[in-house]
Symmetry: C2
């Protein structure tokens, strides 16, 4: 994944980081992202994304009973996912410094 590709893939990285903290299911993830200050991601974004990541073997899932509602699909990182997360962090830092150096002249606005 190149730096430019990541422009589209920032959510992916954030989701990997959140899953890394502790295993989590989609619905809970959506709430958590909102807490972190993101505009709420709809399920139409999150579920396909999680399924894509599972297909890429970045995460695995297990079903567990819910107190209310259908079974929850808990996701956790594979070692490939952990590796991807570390690479995402590097790329994010790079992107951040690139964008910030572009914006340097605009700071006081």
């Amino acid at each position: 994944m190149s730096t430019t590709q990541m422009l589209k893939g920032i959510i992916d990285g954030c989701i990997l980081a959140i899953i890394h903290e502790k295993e989590i299911y989609g619905y809970e993830l959506a709430e958590k992202l909102e807490q972190y200050g993101f505009d709420s991601f709809s399920e139409g974004t999150i579920y396909p994304l999680l399924m894509r990541m599972q297909k890429e073997e970045l995460v695995t899932s297990t079903l567990k009973k819910s107190t209310a509602g259908p079974k929850r699909k808990y996701y956790s990182l594979t070692s490939k996912g952990e590796q991807e997360l570390r690479q995402f962090i590097k790329r994010w830092k790079l992107l951040q410094s690139s964008v910030n150096s572009v914006l340097k002249g605009e700071e006081n606005e």
Copy 2:
């Protein structure tokens, strides 16, 4: 434009910022972005993007003779473009803090 939409539109904001510094043409812009640490953006990314921004009236363009090669199309910001830039900066700061707070637990990796 929502926070999530901007995930895809970070380049747009960076380009607005660069054009704001001084008027610039596409080819020069591509080189500049590379200097700033971005993976080189191909012309297939930059030219359609500039044309889109002109269509949205964020930038205007004027043709000027080149020392070598065809005429250069110099772009500069409209007041709408300046406004959009200021909004981009706000959204970028927000995104930055959101992502960084998600990554807080991962810092030392």
